[in-house]
């Protein structure tokens, strides 16, 4: 894969004050921009906030919202919260794995789409729920999920 274009990095770094508690907000911004945490960016964050690279990695690997491997261009999240579990989210997962051609928790080979579980998006009354690039869809049946092609 080609090296990512990092020209936006200085702007992102300077958008937050250089304080240690800005680590998570910065990593979240970087994840949002590159859909992963490029090594170059982690080193730059370590330097900017004056904290050891090991600590940057500790935080980067702790939080589920952050990832080292790039996520797909489109993000499909299946809610696997309690209400969705009770109302059949497993069937939705099965249908999505088939229609999208990727296993839960993975990114398709062409890098176009990531399918991942999410613990709860707070739309439980509409269970089962799927999020497509952040937009919530409620009462998703197996058939509706099967028709979702990305």
């Amino acid at each position: 894969m080609a090296a990512p274009d990092m020209t936006a990095l200085p702007g992102i770094l300077e958008s937050r004050p250089p304080e240690p508690n800005e680590l998570l907000p910065l990593l979240t911004l970087i994840q949002g921009r590159w859909r992963c945490l490029p090594e170059e960016a982690l080193k730059a964050v370590s330097k900017r906030l004056a904290i050891p690279l090991a600590r940057v990695y500790a935080v980067a690997s702790f939080y589920k919202a952050l990832s080292f491997a790039p996520k797909g261009e489109r993000l499909v999240q299946v809610c696997c919260g309690t209400a969705c579990h009770l109302k059949g989210s497993q069937a939705v997962v099965g249908a999505l794995e088939k229609s999208l051609g990727v296993k839960l928790g993975g990114t398709r080979g062409d890098g176009k789409v990531t399918l991942e579980p999410v613990n709860c998006v707070g739309a439980c009354a509409l269970a089962p729920v799927v999020m497509l690039d952040g937009a919530v869809r409620g009462k998703v049946t197996g058939a509706a999920a099967a028709g979702l092609a990305v």
Partner: protein, 623 residues
């Protein structure tokens, strides 16, 4: 415009009160549930229809997005003011008629009624038992509008505290109110407040916990998105009463809209002189920051949350020293759930006696519950504490859907517990639920019917908690996977005799030795289901799942006496395993059945039931 004194605030309030109100308004629900069922598209269509009818100026008639109206099941909802009518299941194509007939014409559209029996929201059974205090402004104000908040009496508590009460009396009101923490344990807020007040060291910090990690709960999200200013005002009043300089609202990563709305309200409050330096010209300053989490359940635990704000991994520490003495950056810190903070303005403005009029002696006030699962009306319900579990499940919720039976209600999130039918008479308060082996938690209630398997439920929660274990202490990191393995074996037909006792032993050990509160309570899913549903565990040991949930561990049979020959089970069966034509009762062909459970769920007459397999143990093909 920046308000420089209390007089200027009062003048603005008078001006707002005198400005003409629209003759009629439509409130399109912008709560989490309705947004998921397409409320934004409905709102855009309504706006377009207003434009087409020449009513875009919003003077006589207007339409706005509101906070959560509650009855998510029937969403997208639209409330009509002043009539109080409630529409449900509204689609974008309904907008032109809605605007022409109802908004300008004042006529009720029967076909859009949220409830077939009644027009007015307040007379719908879902709303009858409710007392809306925390949610009072939902459907009355635009969530992000500071002027709406002020016009609805918002910032009345800060005004009163700054002008008349002083910090001591504001503090005293909260202490005497008997408010208990709305986030989980129900710890008396007054004790925390006093501890912070008496703590040595500066600065002092306030934190609102909006890391609503419990799956199945969304009241905090609805609050942060429906009335964010009530949380902000509560913290500002708290800062004044306790002499705190800075505050943080920690919001779950999965709630980007909450972050957006809270941030825009913080900016509006700063620009108006209600937050920041020299608030209302009284020399009192309070800065508030919105912090977004990183997607970790454990960060709802207070010490993990402070670690996360400091920019570290969200791992809890042992609480030898309370957060109120040494919390954020080792400074005195008061952490409360966002709903607790939203109660503060009401208490300070109306006094502790007013607050205690609702609820019970040890559990005053109201609590917002999210009611989900196998219940007819799902949504957000605010009840006085001490109301019965039954009034929530069967009253507001309307009971389990037709053709199913109530089995259990799960409260308190993954670390809460499952309660049986006898619990319907229990009062919803912190102590009664804890006494029955569950907990209030943040107020998520999940109803389960006879198709829900309690062993599978315990497995589900244990899998969740095992995946979310931060890994710091061994009992939680190593103990949960052991419990999970046994539970998985049980639900997949590989149980051994004695597994139930082994699980109980492991769970008790975990509860006794884990480091943080979340680890200790991670045993609750197993312990509470064992306490009330032990029989199901023993049946699983013998290879039988009575709920018909665990594959290969039952055989569906049709009761010919109860079967109405409707054929729904046959339609639902993906394996062609149901036989019978026309008026005949249906039969299950055991050899073809893949035990997917579709027929059990499809029957509305309780005619298809899960039976023990004739050979005794689980299906050899699946086990």
């Amino acid at each position: 415009m920046r308000l420089k004194s209390i007089e200027e605030l009062r003048a603005l309030r008078r001006e707002l009160a005198e400005s003409p109100a629209p003759e009629r308004r439509l409130w399109v629900c912008g709560g989490p549930g309705c947004l998921a069922s397409g409320a934004l598209e409905v709102f855009r269509a309504v706006e377009a229809a207003c434009l087409a009818e020449g009513m875009a100026d919003g003077v006589r008639f207007r339409a706005d997005l509101s906070g959560c109206l509650g009855l998510c099941e029937r969403g997208p909802l639209v409330e009509v003011e002043p009539e109080g009518w409630l529409y449900g299941g509204v689609k974008p194509e309904d907008a032109p008629e809605l605007v022409r007939e109802t908004l300008s014409g004042g006529r009720f559209l029967d076909r859009l009624a949220a409830d077939p029996e009644c027009r007015e929201k307040d007379s719908i059974p879902f709303y009858l038992p409710q007392r809306r205090h925390v949610m009072a402004r939902f459907g009355r104000t635009r969530p992000e509008s500071l002027t709406d908040y002020l016009a609805a009496g918002g910032y009345g508590a800060l005004e009163l505290a700054l002008s008349e009460l002083g910090p001591e009396e504001a503090f005293r009101r909260v202490e005497l109110s008997g408010l208990r923490g709305r986030g989980g344990g129900g710890f008396p807020a007054g004790r925390k407040w006093r501890a912070l007040k008496e703590a040595a060291g500066r600065p002092r910090y306030l934190i609102a916990n909006g890391d609503e990690g419990d799956p199945g709960a969304f009241m905090n999200r609805a609050l942060m998105e429906g009335d964010p200013l009530s949380v902000i005002e509560g913290m500002t009043v708290g800062a004044y009463a306790l002499g705190a300089e800075e505050g943080f609202v920690y919001v779950r990563h999965e709630y980007p809209l909450s972050v957006e709305r809270l941030s825009s309200c913080v900016r509006a409050a700063e620009e108006t002189g209600l937050l920041g330096d020299d608030i209302l010209g009284r020399g009192f300053g309070f800065r508030l920051r919105i912090v977004e989490g990183g997607g970790a359940f454990v960060c709802g635990e207070s010490t993990a949350l402070t670690a996360s704000i400091e920019g570290r991994e969200g791992q809890p520490r042992v609480k030898y020293v309370r957060t109120t003495e040494a919390g954020l950056w080792e400074k005195p810190t008061l952490l409360q759930n966002v709903e607790s903070w939203a109660n503060v303005p009401m208490i300070v403005r109306n006094g502790p006696d007013w607050f205690r009029e609702t609820g019970t002696g040890d559990n005053p006030g109201t609590k917002v519950f999210s009611l989900v699962g196998k219940v007819r009306r799902t949504g957000l319900v605010e009840l006085p504490l001490g109301s019965s579990v039954g009034s929530l499940v069967n009253g507001a919720g309307g009971g389990v859907p037709k053709g199913r039976r109530f089995k259990a209600v799960q409260s308190g999130g993954p670390s809460g517990g499952c309660l049986p039918e006898s619990a319907l008479d229990l009062p919803l308060d912190f102590d009664a639920l804890a006494g029955a082996g569950a907990m209030m938690g943040s107020g998520g209630l999940i109803v389960m019917d006879d198709l829900s398997c309690l062993v599978d439920t315990a497995r589900y929660f244990t899998a969740f908690l095992s995946g979310e274990s931060c890994g710091k202490c061994a009992p939680c990191r190593e103990g949960l996977p052991v419990i999970l393995e046994v539970l998985t074996d049980m639900t997949e037909g590989r149980a051994r005799v004695g597994d139930t006792d082994f699980l109980e032993h492991q769970a008790r050990m975990l509860a006794a030795t884990a480091l943080c509160g979340l680890g200790k309570s991670a045993a609750n899913p197993v312990l509470s289901t064992l306490r009330h549903f032990r029989r199901e565990y023993l049946e699983h040991e013998a290879g039988f799942c009575r709920a018909g949930r665990c594959r290969g561990m039952y055989l569906p049979e049709v009761d010919p006496g109860a079967c109405r020959s409707c054929g729904m089970c046959q339609k639902a069966c993906p394996a062609d395993a149901i036989e019978g034509v026309r008026r005949e009762p249906r039969r299950v062909a055991a050899g073809k059945c893949i035990t997917c459970g579709a027929c059990l769920a499809a029957c509305s007459f309780e005619a298809v039931k899960a039976h023990r397999r004739p050979e005794g143990g689980p299906d050899a093909r699946t086990a």
